[in-house]
Symmetry: C2
Subunit: 185 residues, 2 copies
């Protein structure tokens, strides 16, 4: 696909690509974390506390990843949580999520570092949060141990509050592939 055609296509598909891309890149380069927490159905101090709690859980996702502590990572998830990774592997339940990440953090992601940016959280009901962020990953390798270039993606976490505590009940992850509107051809 020619670059010009690709850019024209992308401008149609994603009305704000240049600004978003630059803005995203700025935060990635500066290594800063930006959290934009909003609510579509509720407000007030209770919601602020919940927003802070949800933000802490999502931050912990990256913190556990970066110290490769899959015990702590798994505790962020509800027992019946589901997780779909960037190649469509669909894990059902905390045990599967933990086992899969334990394996990749002993291999592909052993020395990887995940940085989350541009977190946006919505509360469709007071007990449910939809938290989406972009991310960048560095330090990952092939199954043969060969270093790979930086990757970026979009991570969705759905969280539920239970007994005053927030847990991830669903995650789906998608790689960002620049310059195309659909899967690369």
């Amino acid at each position: 696909m020619p670059v010009a055609a690709s850019r024209g296509l992308k401008a149609w598909i994603w009305p704000r690509p240049p600004e978003s891309t630059i803005w995203f890149a700025e935060f990635v380069v500066l290594g800063r974390l930006f959290f934009n927490v909003g609510s579509s159905t509720a407000g007030g101090s209770r919601m602020s506390a919940d927003s802070a709690a949800v933000t802490r859980i999502v931050e912990a996702f990256a913190e556990c990843w970066n110290r490769h502590d899959m015990n702590a990572f798994a505790e962020l998830f509800a027992p019946d949580a589901e997780f779909v990774n960037v190649v469509g592997l669909w894990w059902k339940g905390r045990a599967e999520i933990k086992a899969a990440h334990e394996f990749t953090h002993q291999t592909l992601f052993k020395n990887s570092r995940l940085t989350l940016v541009e977190l946006s959280t919505r509360f469709p009901t007071p007990q449910i949060a939809i938290a989406r962020c972009r991310w960048r990953l560095v330090g990952h390798v092939t199954p043969q141990g060969i270093p790979l270039p930086e990757r970026q993606g979009v991570l969705l976490n759905v969280l539920r509050q239970q007994d005053g505590k927030w847990f991830i009940i669903d995650s789906q992850n998608t790689d960002i592939i620049e310059g195309v509107a659909s899967r690369p051809q």
Copy 2:
């Protein structure tokens, strides 16, 4: 990555690949639609009616796609819905979701056909549904109009009930890439 290594890796990552793959393939081949609707927090006839309503919305996603009716497609979404597509494009609001799909359904997906299989729906609260399914897509083309092979993926829809009606409030889509645990190297 050698096939044997890939299979070994995948067996670790996804504890049920052979059965799931065969089972999935069977439904794809037969063109049948299988809906597995469960609930983690509630039951009874009210929930059955909600399960049926959510199933209809997810079925309508594919029906609108297949007749390339983006007006009807957009009406499935709440005004403030978000959508992340398979290459990480992040659309915010019904208008962006509609515009992006109008464009692709005039080009890449003009004659494409989407089939949803293995729908699984959970209700973390009575007003929220998490509906995930696998899908296959045929009949899509490159930006230059060249036919592309079948693709498969995993689609997550989060729905909210408002005034007795269910709307998609969030979608994230991920391509299935066989034989790898993470992005292909």
